[in-house]
Amino acid sequence: MLAYLLRRILYAIPILIGVNLLTFALFFVVNTPDDMARMQLGIKRVTPEAIAKWEHQHGYDKPLLLNFSASGTGKISDTIFWQKSAGMFVLDFGYSDDGRNIGREISTRMGPSLAIALPTFLVGLVVYVSFALLMTLFRGTALDIAGVGLCVLLMSVSALFYIIGGQFVVSKLWHLVPISGYESNLGAVKFVVLPIFIGVIGSIGSSSRWYRTIFLEEIGKDYVRTARAKGLSEMAVLFRHVLKNAMIPILTGVVVVIPLLFMGSLLTESFFGIPGLGSYTIDAINAQDFSVVRAMVFLGSLLYIVGLILTDISYTIVDPRVRLQ
């Protein structure tokens, strides 16, 4: 067990190195630092001096991978790759192109992101599973068919429309909550209610349908017949037997996203003006701030890998077949 987890954690290191190399290649090999400087400076002010100055300011005036002019460890460490990437492994994200400490930004913005993402996740899970259980309980009836139809309809609508429509109806027509903005502490409640609601509605279609498929697959298995042959009621069969077994495939998709909740949601946060990591990322994309985008890529994959490890751990809790191997 422990060895298994340890192996998974060790396995994460080459993956993170891979992510880092990939982003590095994307950011520094496709375009030279000169190109980026030109881009940032704008067409008009491009002079060789200005480019050199920009590159020096932002630390892009070093060789890419190996510095032959340096000595000792400097050969490796005095390079763009080392300067820009190595720090990330110890969660030192450096400074954004406009000179702010990315690490500090991340730590202050995680709060608002979580304030929306976590409730959305939890409420969503309950709603989707309940809806799916309902459809499973009434499988084959008109209720089930209507439910599936509703799911397909709901999942055919772009997330953008849920947000725009929700803002328009709830905030603009009914004036129930403010359209956008954020306050800290309890004041946040009135700002996060609508995003959470919309977030839950937005993926009710695809998620409930997916859970329904899982439940239906489980319900066709032999042990369910055994449970019925014992005289258990359909509800008991569903909740005591099917749900427990369905947890295993459900966990695969669910646990892995838990750490990613920290990243927030790009769309929701930018529409509702939430000062979280999602809107931070969007702003960075729009401002073409490569340092921030790179930091977020690394953070995202780090959290994903943490999610994978958490998934493995959760298996050992839920599935005795994994636990006992």
Partner: protein, 670 residues
Amino acid sequence: MDSILRVSGLITQLHNGARIVDDISFGINAGETYALLGESGCGKSMTALSLLRLLPDGVVRAGGTAQLDGVDLFGLRESDMRAVRGGTSAMIFQEPGLSLNPVMTVGAQIAEVLALHQDMRGMAAQQRCIALLDQVGIPDAARRVTEYPMQLSGGMKQRVMIAMALAGQPKLLVADEPTTALDVTTQAQVLQLLRDTQSASGMSILLITHDLGVVAQMAHQAGVMYAGQIVEQASRAQLLSRPLHPYTQKLLAALPDANQRNRALAAIPGSVPALGSITRGCRFAARCDQAWALCNEQTPAWTVLNDGHGVRCHLYGNTGLRTRDLVPSPQPPAFSLQPPVPSHQPSALLQVKDLRVHFPIRKGILKTVVGQVKAVDGVSLEIPQGRTLALVGESGCGKTTLGKALLQLIPPTAGSVQFAGHELTGLDARKLRARRSTMQMVFQDPYASLNPKMRVAEILEEGMTALGLHGDSSARQSLVDSLLDQVGLARISKWRYPHEFSGGQRQRIAIARALAVSPRLLICDEPTSALDVSVQAQILNLLKSLQQQLGLSYLFITHNLAVVEYLAHEVCVMYLGRIVERGTAEEVLRKPRHPYTQALLSAVPRIDGAQTERIRLEGDLPSPSNPPPGCHFAPRCSHATELCRRAYPENKMFSSTHGAHCHLYPDIPD
């Protein structure tokens, strides 16, 4: 005698109206076992599920009544029916591995029944669970009760299922093929347990099975089902000694055994008709060699003879014109007694010496090798031209791995495989390909052994093309035609896809595919275990006649000793990767020396009632990754001594051909 269950006129059908169960009536007496016998797809499981109202989605009961202990099952409300399920009537299923909830402990699953039907909870329930597990013969019950199904062997799981059924103290136990998925020694244990439980508790059993041997051991009364109907019903003795319906007669005759060695088996041509395809006439008429015009026109009525023996056949009805002039069915043609063994070449065609196949077990952070699964552990054998060697053993003994290692599908770890004097191990792919045509394989599952996306002609041609045999494509096409003739399929079928064929027909295609490259040795890996008895007889006949015609050698891998008796010249018995006994079929099957062989033979249910005293095996097959020290069989052997637990026995020869690895026998000087 008072009957506990009375079913009359039961009809179960699909939503489209096709009848799976068509007007079935029978009764079960208290304390007795009623066996419902039939081949796959005849509706026997659906009958059982109809009674407990557990039919799958899409199947509905469309008529009939059922009284269980005076209660009208089909008139109950669903909530009342739940009190019957698991209470008055419990059910156990075919696949114990799939029928238990994998994420609940054994104890919790039994406790559910106790809470529902005995209103027993907490410590009392816990104690009762342990007592029940103890009752069904699970050792160390107090520990097992907290374990999960995956920690138990197949036989143990079926015992847990039985314990779960007993927890509600049922008056009727419905057992749907309870031993089909189990090995023969485990089957004997479970059947014994069912008999013991019945005599202790006086419950009745509705036993659903396809195995006449199981019927012979278990049943008081039996009904034979065919295509949704009961065609014959009688006591066990009547049924086995004087079967009336031609179908039952054929089923009995189709069972292979030693007495039929030199005859073709009485196979039933064709296969079971599709659901609801026959509405008029006798459903068996198309496959019956005693049928006449009336059989196709008029559905035979249920006829009960004076001795209570019931049958649905025109031969016995009032309408039958030939009621009394029973024609004995013609004897199947005899094979020539002498197999055409080429006299000039007595040496072995295949010679295997000390073959080993080990799989490494990797563990830990760096996946280092911590041990070996010794699937095949030093096997030597020889197969002469034109002879059949049967390799017998239970699942997990390594016999399939051995077969694949001979073909070099799995690279052997050590040892030598020589075919006609040429070494096969360690050859590179090109050199090996040149030898491929000499040895081919027929696989167990006819549904998995044919690529569903290829036409029959393409399947048959594949080997010839790969090995560059038989000239150009037109020559190959004509060979495909003659192959189909040879295995008894119409030539037109070469343009069809595998899904259009029944299991038996697919196995014929698989045999034709192997024959296409003119091999001299066929490795047959349980080729009939997925088939019904009547179809099994067809395939065995085919294999036997091919051997006659072509002088083929067979390595016949099987767990079915009846097939061995019928087909094999020599027998090797395998246990945990090693051959423990070998000899001619006569020697091994009539005078088994190794205690394992003896146990195996005594576990086979026989229909003639000539049951030798059963040798009960303790426990389960040990893991091949950690075999017991000394003789591998010692922990389960009743004769084991200190020596057995210490040293692996040498081979002791009892005749020039018969030998066994066992310490029981003193060294016999040659």
